[in-house]
């Protein structure tokens, strides 16, 4: 069944899969550059940690043109606070999905902050 996936380098957010063994796992969550929409059965995964780049071991945070790399394991809200930003001013998208900010971030996740404050009164 399914294709055999042998991913040596860019394994992003794969920890869940390793813990659960050989399960059906949406390959889209493995992200760029292995992003396809169909489901593939993961049969074996070889992760070469030595070859992982920092991006794959950390969480990438972006806000407009700004970028940060932060340690995984914190919630989105904690990450925002650790960057000295106010969580009230942003929405959080994790790997392209809008989510409430209590979500805990894994290595390889992309947290995109969407600023919500606008100039306001000038719309009238």
């Amino acid at each position: 069944m399914g294709a055999r996936v042998d991913i040596r380098y860019r394994v992003l957010g794969i920890r869940v899969v390793l813990k659960q063994g050989n399960i059906q796992y949406p390959i889209s969550s493995i992200q760029y550059p292995y992003s396809h929409s169909q489901f593939v059965e993961l049969q074996s995964v070889h992760v070469n940690h030595a070859k992982m780049t920092t991006q794959e071991k950390t969480v990438l945070v972006t806000l407009r043109k700004q970028r940060w790399q932060v340690e995984p394991g914190k919630t989105a809200r904690q990450v925002i606070q650790s960057l000295d930003l106010n969580p009230e001013n942003y929405l959080t998208m994790v790997n392209g999905q809008l989510t409430d900010d209590s979500v805990r971030l894994k290595a390889g996740d992309h947290l995109k902050l969407v600023a919500v404050i606008s100039g306001g009164a000038h719309a009238a």
């Binding site: 929405l91 409430d100 979500v103 100039g119 306001g120 009164a121 000038h122 719309a123 009238a124």
Partner: protein, 324 residues
């Protein structure tokens, strides 16, 4: 895992700490639509018999409002004013494109577009520079032009109600500013509904109880494309500064903004129960007919060069309608 939706246990897209309510994308959309209907009725904004014109800027709030009012089945159309602002990324062009794209997806509604530079020969920043109003920022001229033109167009096209996408953060920022300065006259007039008066449409703010993060969330979950970049002149605006300040308070005390606004609306009833607007005699403007306090020309017509003034009497927006 993120929080779970209170209604269906799926992952929440938003947690509204002031309501202690986390919802998934579907239940959040439903909640926004129902709440808007509730506010429209509570503040007696309009009914299904009224023709409503929404002032759209291409931003999240106004497009989300247009979308919600359509879902609720109101007779609602959009009005976009092209201001001729570029800011290095074609701000006005982009915002107009967003409004048109929205209109094209909704055959049941019409977008009216009036381009200020093509109509009156000058962009808003050019008008501001020529008349030297506003210390390098065109915002006061911009506000004046928008107020006049929205009123005029609503009146000419037979809309009784003018709706704007002001959210709670906009309202509390203004409230905070007016309180710091004790602008009693402004406080007396700050409300979800400004009644109609001869020559002026009723003005309503159906989103006045939603936080800005909620209108943004709504736009995203509904897949509405909006201009994410601000008008270049909004940078450094005092409203933004107050919004950030109030959000710091909100982060420590969830619900502080909502409470400030609702408690004000309540206090307003007693504070201003006997408030009398200073009686000003209004006269029709000699050029455009819109009521104005000083005899002669209204402030908008005074802003225009003499040879351009007659255009105010005939300028009509163009209509954008979906061919779907």
């Amino acid at each position: 895992m993120p929080r779970k939706c209170r209604k269906c246990q799926r992952p929440a897209v938003i947690n509204m700490r002031q309501h202690k309510l986390a919802l998934c994308a579907d239940h959040f959309q439903e909640w926004v639509v129902n709440q808007t209907e509730r506010f429209i009725k509570k503040y007696r904004m309009f009914t299904h018999d009224d023709r409503v014109l929404v002032a759209v800027s291409g931003g999240k709030d106004s497009l989300a409002l247009w979308d919600v009012l359509l879902q609720l089945g109101y007779q609602v159309d959009g009005l976009y004013l092209g201001l001729g602002i570029d800011g290095g990324f074609g701000y006005s062009d982009e915002s107009r494109a967003m409004c048109q794209a929205f209109a094209e997806k909704h055959p049941e509604t019409t977008l009216h577009v009036l381009d200020i530079p093509t109509t009156y020969g000058e962009s808003i920043p050019e008008m501001a520079a020529r008349t030297r109003r506003g210390k390098g920022k065109p915002c006061s001229v911009c506000g004046l032009v928008k107020r006049h033109e929205m009123n005029r167009i609503a009146h000419d096209l037979g809309y009784h109600v003018l709706a704007t996408g002001h959210n709670l953060d906009d309202e509390v920022a203004v409230l905070f500013q007016n309180t710091l300065n004790w602008q009693v006259g402004y406080l007396a007039r700050q409300a979800p509904v400004l009644p109609e008066s001869p020559g002026f449409a009723r003005k309503v703010k159906p989103f006045c109880r939603f936080y800005e993060r909620e209108t943004a969330t709504y736009a995203i979950v509904r897949g509405i494309d909006y201009v994410y970049d601000e008008c270049p002149f909004a940078e450094g605006a005092t409203t933004i500064y107050y919004k950030e300040l109030l959000n710091r308070l909100e982060a420590d005390k969830p619900g502080a903004k909502l409470h400030f606004y609702l408690a004000f609306l309540k206090a307003r009833e007693t504070l201003f129960a006997h408030w009398q607007e200073e009686h000003v005699e209004l006269h029709p403007c000699e050029n455009c007919g819109q009521p104005t306090s000083a005899p002669g020309l209204c402030t908008f017509c005074r802003l225009l060069p003499e040879e351009v003034r007659p255009r105010v009497r005939h300028a009509q927006p163009i209509m954008v309608k979906s061919m779907l």
